[in-house]
Symmetry: C2
Subunit: 320 residues, 2 copies
């Protein structure tokens, strides 16, 4: 795991400097929003995955940073639009952008970041990269669409849940890995292997996120526990709860009727943790991490492949 941390330490200064410089060039009204969301936090998982896959597939030149940053921009753009859609108050432990800067500025900042990401991608002169970025945005929006539709008619549906998290989270992580691969090589089978790794890491990442949402009081997530439940989102820990608890049908009916007072929400969150549903969600994530690591076997053996493997393990281990 030390290699992974060292890699982040090695690459993040260039990523952060580029984000700082590019957002500094934006027009006033959206510059502040863009800097607030891009420079105020974020684990930089997507850009580092882009760098790692490019390097793992032999890309030794300079110049991967703009592509890596375009993934972080896409991610931030979808986050700030989603926070408007979800009416979210908090993001990374701070007030959400639309509450700090206003909805107008935030919608525009999202549009500008989407466009800037596409322009940075286009600058490489590799059409495949723009196709990947566009597909990544469409998948992310589709995931959000599915989630909204699903919240309107909540039910414990494993397939629907998977479609949502693949769209909302995993596809963009897959995109980050595919972009790094496409930069390094036109060989589609290598890109597919990198994408397979990213997709499975992304699913594992979201499963862990969903577990941590229930475990938040015991972690350092920067937001209160049970946020998903409050928003009517049925994530994996709650699916297990609804399927297995004797009063699952009753809880589901109250969820569908939006009849969950705060005390009852707290009770459900407590029971999800106490009965091990959050921990079982982590165990599910471990299976996806295994698939991600098997996908790496198609890549040439090298230091970066080893670090990608560590990154998959780290997704499981994280507490925030």
């Amino acid at each position: 795991m030390n290699d992974l941390l060292a890699y982040f330490e090695q690459e993040l200064p260039a990523v952060n400097a580029f984000l700082e410089a590019e957002t500094g060039k934006l027009d006033g009204l959206v510059r502040d929003v863009a800097r607030y969301v891009l420079l105020g936090g974020g684990k930089r998982i997507r850009p580092v995955l882009t760098i790692l896959t490019a390097r793992a597939l032999g890309f030794r030149q300079d110049g991967v940073t703009p592509l890596a940053c375009s993934l972080e921009m896409l991610h931030s753009a979808t986050l700030i639009h989603d926070d408007i859609l979800d009416g979210a108050d908090l993001r990374r432990g701070r007030a959400a952008a639309h509450l700090t800067f206003g909805q107008t500025e935030t919608i525009l900042a999202g549009d500008v970041l989407l466009a800037l990401a596409n322009r940075l991608g286009a600058d490489y002169g590799i059409p495949r990269i723009n196709s990947l970025l566009a597909e990544g945005i469409m998948s992310t929006a589709s995931g959000e669409i599915l989630e909204i539709a699903h919240c309107a008619k909540p039910r414990p549906d494993r397939a629907a849940y998977m479609a949502i998290i693949v769209g909302k989270t995993a596809r963009l992580i897959e995109t980050a890995c595919r972009c790094g691969a496409a930069l390094a090589s036109p060989e589609r089978s290598l890109e597919d292997a990198a994408g397979d790794y990213g997709l499975n890491v992304g699913i594992a990442f979201q499963l862990v996120d969903d577990a941590l949402d229930y475990l938040a009081d015991q972690s350092d997530l920067g937001k209160p526990a049970g946020g998903d439940l409050r928003e009517g989102k049925i994530t994996w820990p709650l699916i297990l709860f609804l399927e297995e608890e004797p009063d699952g049908a009753e809880v589901l009916a109250r969820l569908a009727a939006r009849d969950l007072d705060e005390a009852f929400q707290r009770e459900v969150v407590g029971r999800v943790c106490a009965k091990g549903y959050a921990d079982r969600t982590r165990a599910e994530a471990a299976a996806y991490v295994g698939r991600a690591k098997r996908a790496l076997e198609a890549l040439p053996g090298c230091r970066e492949r080893e670090i990608l493997s560590q990154a998959a393990d780290f997704v499981l281990a994280r507490r925030k």
Copy 2:
């Protein structure tokens, strides 16, 4: 002008069929919004300009339709996001999308249309096209940003007005022309000429639009007259009014204080028309149409160049 109308009649069925097919593939929640805005109206100026410039520069193959439609998608995406930002009630004589489908669906539909446009562009395998699309979106967002900032501190400022309409309107029309050129030829000087034409046509288009906003009661614009004034937008007709009317400073002060009751708004709109400020705005537009037509001289003589020239004239003549 008959050639122009015939060209629209010739090309629009393929454009509309493609938009119909592509929007039909979208996810349910945004599909309805996308179809409402893309199939429910629109003059299709941008796609037809893309087709005309590609053909004028010798692109004789099939396959220009997706690129042309990507411009209409970008345009629609920025429109529906702008209508949220502006709190607009009407668009093309119907309820704005966000009032019909909800804000969430409309933000997402805009994001999906932006991504779909980029994907259609990327499918050509010509990186320049993606750079142009990305720059077009960024300029459009910048124009909106400038306009919002300007509305907060209204003043008759010709340079600020020009920067706003270039960003909001003219750059995307320039982009439509540049994309057609880039599809036909890698020769940058030809693309620049096409872009010069598009930029000037776009400025003329917006000046006429701003004149028509005051003349709406005498036209068939599908919205009530004076909408710009109500929204606090200082467009060219009002700049002339504020500069030349004896009570211009007083009107500006009331505008800045948001102290314009409906009767006074009506009075200002009536005076802008009666004193010829709207007509003088059209005359200003005529100068840009002249520049657009001169830019066409760099293109090879052909039927499509002639139709582009007619299109520039048509921008001036339109009443809605």
